[in-house]
């Protein structure tokens, strides 16, 4: 059984993962609005900020360029740090949109990257709530592949929420991402998006 839980709602104390919970007044409670699955004994948050992990793909905007590092706007609780790669031919400029992978985490929530790739200049950048990004990707990236195929686009997804889209059907791709974002909690999304994109083609 799945049910929606709110901050402060009591949970059993034998959860599989303790993420998104804390102890309040002696009992385990949820910290977030989420879905609790009592078979898997886990919480999937419905809202909330991105939690950077080593190895996570990100898309960000260069906010400032220093001698050795750049600050990256990830729409995160703090700027990410890009350590300048002396070997790379790419020299970062403020406003550039880049993709990268988190190499380490500093001070609890500051993602650090050491290599970045400039995103193609003909792309369009949208921001999606990070809690909805898993639905944009779909199981084994199935949703993403479907959108790319039906709209003839290439989509680079940052787990922090920025999504860069290039190619032919950018507008329909954005429309489908917005639909996923607003209906992320419902089931049968892959088919809904397919129907929407096929009807837009006509």
């Amino acid at each position: 059984m799945k049910k929606i839980i709110l901050p402060g709602d009591a949970l059993p104390d034998d959860l599989a993962v303790a993420h998104y919970t804390c102890i309040n007044n002696g009992s385990v409670v949820s910290k977030v609005v989420g879905v609790y699955d009592d078979e898997r004994k886990e919480i999937v948050p419905l809202e909330g900020a991105w939690h950077p992990r080593v190895g996570s793909s990100i898309v960000g905007i260069i906010a400032s360029v220093g001698r050795n590092t750049c600050s990256i706007d990830l729409k995160h609780s703090s700027y990410g740090i890009l350590v300048n790669d002396k070997m790379s031919r790419y020299s970062p400029k403020v406003g550039d949109v880049i993709e990268s992978v988190v190499r380490s985490i500093e001070r609890k929530n500051v993602p650090v990257m050491d290599r970045a790739r400039l995103i193609d200049g003909s792309s369009w950048l949208v921001y999606v709530k990070p809690s909805k990004i898993p639905r944009v990707l779909g199981r084994n990236n199935s949703m993403l592949k479907q959108i790319e195929e039906l709209t003839q686009t290439r989509i680079i997804v940052g787990l922090n929420g920025f999504v860069a889209i290039s190619g032919k059907g950018i507008n329909p791709a954005v429309a489908s991402i917005r639909k996923i974002e607003s209906e992320a909690h419902t089931s049968g999304l892959t088919d809904k998006i397919k129907d929407m994109l096929l009807s837009m083609k006509e």
């Binding site: 309040n24 909690h185 419902t186």
Partner: protein, 241 residues
């Protein structure tokens, strides 16, 4: 508090001027997630009060020297629209009253938000009173709590706000503007859902220890209803799970 000279009789046969009993709340409606840009938001109608609350963050602290290396900071802004009152045209921006209310509301949420999860960052809570009809700070707290939850800000508990007053010598819950103008005492409160902890307490007027105790009991009782409404507002965002 207005002068007592023209004070109307506020309670007739145990009923207040709008027909409520002493322990009855006005009608409340809450809607979550009403704004696109904010990370979380809520619209609240409480009697004639009309309030919008919005939450941004956690985000990079600006200016940087305000940052706390161990925890997130909360910035809170309560303000009243110039057209919010029935009487004269108000001034836009915050007066001293609004600054004080912003501060005590900020301290409510510093109690429940898990701040150490986002060191060096800030969480902004904005509350706009579009129309005021008494007990606006309590109403704002209810809206802000829903906005925070809808933004996914980690909290160890939800909170609700409610006011208690002494009207015509009787302890009443949720005083409206008219009652507040002529009340003997007014005590706004914010209380946590799980364990009834008092997170905001202000009071002015005259109340005995026994009356204050009765006020707390009434507030907690009324809180059960407010909690349910906050819950429903959040659940309504996810119809079809």
């Amino acid at each position: 508090m207005a002068s007592k000279i023209n004070k109307p009789k506020l309670i007739h046969d145990g009923k207040r001027l709008d027909g409520r009993g002493p322990d009855e709340l006005r009608e409340i409606k809450i809607e979550a997630g009403i704004l696109k840009n904010a990370n979380g938001s809520a619209y609240l109608e409480w009697g004639k009060n009309r309030i919008i609350a919005a939450v941004y963050g956690p985000k990079e602290v600006m200016p940087k020297h305000f940052a706390d290396p161990n925890a997130a900071i909360i910035k809170c802004r309560y303000s009243m629209a110039p057209f919010s009152s029935l009487e004269e045209h108000g001034r836009s921006g915050q007066n001293r009253r609004a600054v004080e209310i912003s501060k005590v509301i900020k301290e409510v949420f510093e109690n429940v938000v898990v701040l150490n999860e986002y060191p060096n960052s800030e969480i902004d809570i904005f509350m706009e009173v579009l129309q005021s009809d008494g007990s606006t700070r309590a109403a704002c707290i209810n809206a802000a709590a829903v906005a925070l939850a809808s933004a996914g800000i980690p909290m160890k508990d939800m909170v609700y706000g409610v006011s208690v007053g002494k009207v015509d010598g009787e302890i009443c819950v949720d005083v409206d503007m008219l009652e507040d103008n002529y009340s003997d005492a007014d005590m706004p409160l914010a209380i946590s859902h799980r364990d009834d902890r008092i997170l905001l307490l202000q009071m002015d007027g005259d109340m005995s220890n026994e009356e204050i105790g009765r006020g707390f009991d009434m507030a907690v009782e009324a809180g059960k209803k407010i909690r349910e409404l906050q819950r429903e507002a959040l659940l309504a965002m996810y119809k079809g799970v």
